[in-house]
Each structure stands twice: as C-alpha cells, then as structure tokens.
Subunit: 133 residues, 2 copies
C-alpha cells in the first residue's frame, strides 16, 4: 500500500476519526446522494406519515415533477422509502419511509433543526464577510 511511508498525524488517525480510509469512497458516494438538492427535504417531509405524489410536491416547495420523480426513485432504490401504488381510479400512490429511512430521518431532522436554529448566525457571518472583504 502506498500509505506505508506516510509520516505524520494523518497516518496515525486516518483521514478522519469517523471514516476509515476504505469507506471514504462509499461515504462520499452516499453523502452525495442524500446530500443532493432534494433528498433530505423529501425525507424530512415524510416524517408525519405517508404522502401522495402531489402532496410531496406541495410540501417541498420549488421541486419540479422531474426532480421529485427522480428523487423518490433514488430513495426507493436505496431502500429509504417505499412506493405503494393503490390500484384505483383515480390512481393513488403513497410514499412512506422504511425503517432504514426512518433511522436516517432522525439525523436529517437534527440537521434541519440545526439550520433553523442557526441560520440567523450564518446570515450574520455572511453579511459581515461581505461588508469587510
């Protein structure tokens, strides 16, 4: 392995205390997916129970049909949400969190709560940084 001669602190503790080097790739990959523009919000919004397609679209303001479709499909393939099509007319399709999705949901909620709590501070910093370049 080419890390054999790495001399310093990095070698001791790896790239990050929380991430073994071998998993970094996966972590990056999955972080990319759930950290994409919409996934977190969709997951967040499913916390109160199953939602239909149109409801999702309303609850996540600004999402396009395309992106909603792609996002839920990804989430479904990743086993984070279920898609249940009821054979009725008019069609009804409901999306819900799987247990896996629910476990992620908790973290997403923490993140969103954090943002809600601190976006004031962040905005301050931003304007400060902008006015004092």
């Amino acid at each position: 392995m080419d890390t054999a001669d790495r001399p310093d602190a990095a070698a001791r503790r790896g790239p990050c205390a929380a991430i073994p080097a071998e998993q970094m790739g996966f972590v990056r990959q999955i972080l990319d997916r759930i950290g994409d523009k919409w996934s977190m919000l969709v997951i967040a919004v499913l916390d109160t129970g199953p939602l239909r397609y149109t409801d999702l679209q309303r609850e996540v303001p600004g999402i396009s049909q395309r992106m909603l479709t792609l996002t839920v499909r990804q989430l479904q393939q990743d086993g984070l949400v279920t898609r249940t099509a009821h054979a009725e007319v008019p069609p009804r399709v409901e999306y819900a969190l799987t247990p896996l999705g629910r476990s992620l949901h908790q973290i997403v909620t923490s993140l969103i709560t954090w943002v809600a709590d601190h976006h004031g501070q962040i905005r301050e910093h931003r304007t400060n940084a902008a006015t004092t370049p």
Copy 2:
C-alpha cells in the same frame, strides 16, 4: 399572505413538522451549501483540530485545489471555520472549526456514522432494485 386560503392538512402542520413555511427558503439554501459535494467532509475532517491547507487536501481524498479553496472560503464566510494565516516563510495557514462549526460538526458526524453503518444495507437495496426492475 397567499397561504391564507390553503385548505388542507398542509396548512395545519406546515410543510414539515420541523420546518415552518417561512424558513423553508433559508433551510433549502443552507442545506444546499452544507450539503454540497465537499463541505460536510471538510467539516468532518476538522474534528481533531486545526489543519493546514495541504493536510486538508490529503484528508479529503479527491478534492481539487479549486474546490478546497472554494469550500473553505464558503465555510469561513458562513462562520463555520476560521482561517489563520501565520506570517512566516514558508507560509502556514490553518483552518479550524468555530464554535458554530463545532456544533454542526456533531450532526455531520452522526450523518457520516449513519452512512458508515448503513451503506451495506443501501448497496443491497440498490442491487436488488437493479436486478428486479
């Protein structure tokens, strides 16, 4: 406000239990930033203390100079990291988490831990979904 005539469930509980409608915009905006390709990893990697530019680059495998520079600058403007340039030669610049950044770091760590714990399950689901379309 144009939500006055909204009739149904969404009106009762808002777009998401965790997100008041008015904050959705901010939340989206900030989630976009910290959920971008690199910010989380940079924050994660700063957990063990200040790091220099080159160290950051090594600890976050795959990041380009451009992206590292952009990312730390954003994080700095948002008040999540500090940049300390030591007037020496050769120059030494250290990046560290602010208290604000540290509070976010905890959540990021949870997220990364979750991913590390569950990426196996996710990969399973993905391959299942791929083989049974």
